[in-house]
């Protein structure tokens, strides 16, 4: 049996913009993924432990609050602290992220950043293409 790809779609911190995350979750489901949506206002610890317990292949973090540079590395570090291996997972960030910060986020271990206006099919393609490469590397 082929392993199903499991994706966590998370909203972290004080940020009420959930439209993008919900639209994405729906679309990913219809593209054949198993999607776990966290709901709003999760802490980095909560997202990290969910990622480990649910044994997801992709951790997607949606951020519109401007706090991405502070929150994203926390999620990544807590995943490691809880025994998970973020290097085996695809770490994706989406939402309102200034161009300069995209470079910073990638240095922190983020695989790709998707800003407003990205066609969701592009995100699906990215996961399907990159996940096998990432799995091979480990």
């Amino acid at each position: 049996m082929e392993k199903k790809i499991r994706v966590l779609v998370a909203k972290v911190g004080l940020d009420g913009h959930d439209r993008g995350a919900k639209v994405l979750a729906r679309f990913l489901r219809d593209s054949g993924f198993e999607v776990i949506y966290t709901g709003l206002h999760r802490t980095p610890q909560e997202v990290a432990m969910a990622a480990v317990d649910e044994d997801v292949d992709v951790v997607g973090i949606s951020l519109h609050s401007g706090a991405h540079l502070a929150l994203v590395p926390k999620v990544v570090n807590y995943i490691r602290e809880y025994g998970g291996n973020p290097d085996e997972m695809l770490i994706l960030v989406g939402g309102v992220i200034p161009t300069d910060d995209i470079v910073e986020l990638k240095k922190m271990g983020v695989d790709e950043v998707f800003i407003p206006g990205t066609p969701i099919s592009e995100i699906v393609e990215f996961i399907k293409k990159k996940l096998p490469e990432k799995r091979k590397k480990k």
Binding site: M1, D30, S31, E34, T43
Partner: protein, 346 residues
Amino acid sequence: MNAEEVVEGLLSGNRRALARAITYVENEYPESKEIMKHIFPKTGRAHVVGLTGFPGVGKSTLVSKLTEEFRRRGKKVGIIAIDPGSPFTGGALLGDRLRLDGMDSRKALWTDPGIFFRSMSSRGRAGGLAAKTGDVVRLLDAFGFDVILVETVGAGQSEVDIIEVADTSVVVMMPETGDEIQVNKAGILEIGDIYVVNKADLGGAEKVERWLKYMLSLDEESVQMLSQMTHADEAKVASGEFFERRKGWSPPVIKTVADRGEGIKKLADAIEEHFEYMKKSGLIEKRRRERVKRELFEIVMNDVIKLVKEKTNYRDLIMKLLKGETDPYTAAEQIVEEVIQNAGKG
């Protein structure tokens, strides 16, 4: 992680290993057999509680509040929440985790080391559970959870599968769905050890409660009457296997307002009482014997089918069937014969 690392980790309390074990089992990885073999001796301690009922009645909210209550009572809680997966796209939106919020401190539940929550897709399977639910229950059991809550899909039709994995089955209803017709539907009166009328704040809950109690008492009366009749066989038939499962236990009907935490203590009490009753009356052995038998037969079936595929000329027989040169019963006899002859050979 290989099978050995997973087993070692799981039995020494490593969540990551537990999470991996579930993935291996759920996806039928080659490692899963080895893992299940090793953890089986460590199972049988946990109290497995199933929650079933139509979508939206409040199962996930109840699971969350019950988890909080059992934690307060010092118990470790494992949760398996199953949502429907599309048989067409294979995708699923697993939304039960969203509701994992307590009354006291919502933060605690998501990161509490005494709680493990796993979302599963039914992957298009009917019956309310995912195919590997039973094995995942065993993994959580071996890890050391005291209570394991299993939330079914809630597709509405008879989700009787839950009684095959749970020691205690909780049927959840709510006012709107609760007219006479719903209560009478599809095995609902047979499968519950405990009935919950949730959303009691909406009004109309008393009506459902009355109906449930009335229908349940009718069932009990008729069983009793029949058992007093002279024809013992008839009584056995009429009382049925379902009632045998909860003999001597009158299922309570409990009203709750899950999102406000009302009625949760009472429900947790009833769940614990039922487990005690099951142990004291010996009914638990009976249920678990049935379960183990079913699991065993299922595994044997899979192995036999594999043998058939590997060791027989079943393809030729299918061609003959298509041409009308044989019939399925003769073909099956032939295949069984072939399996017996060839199984021992390398």
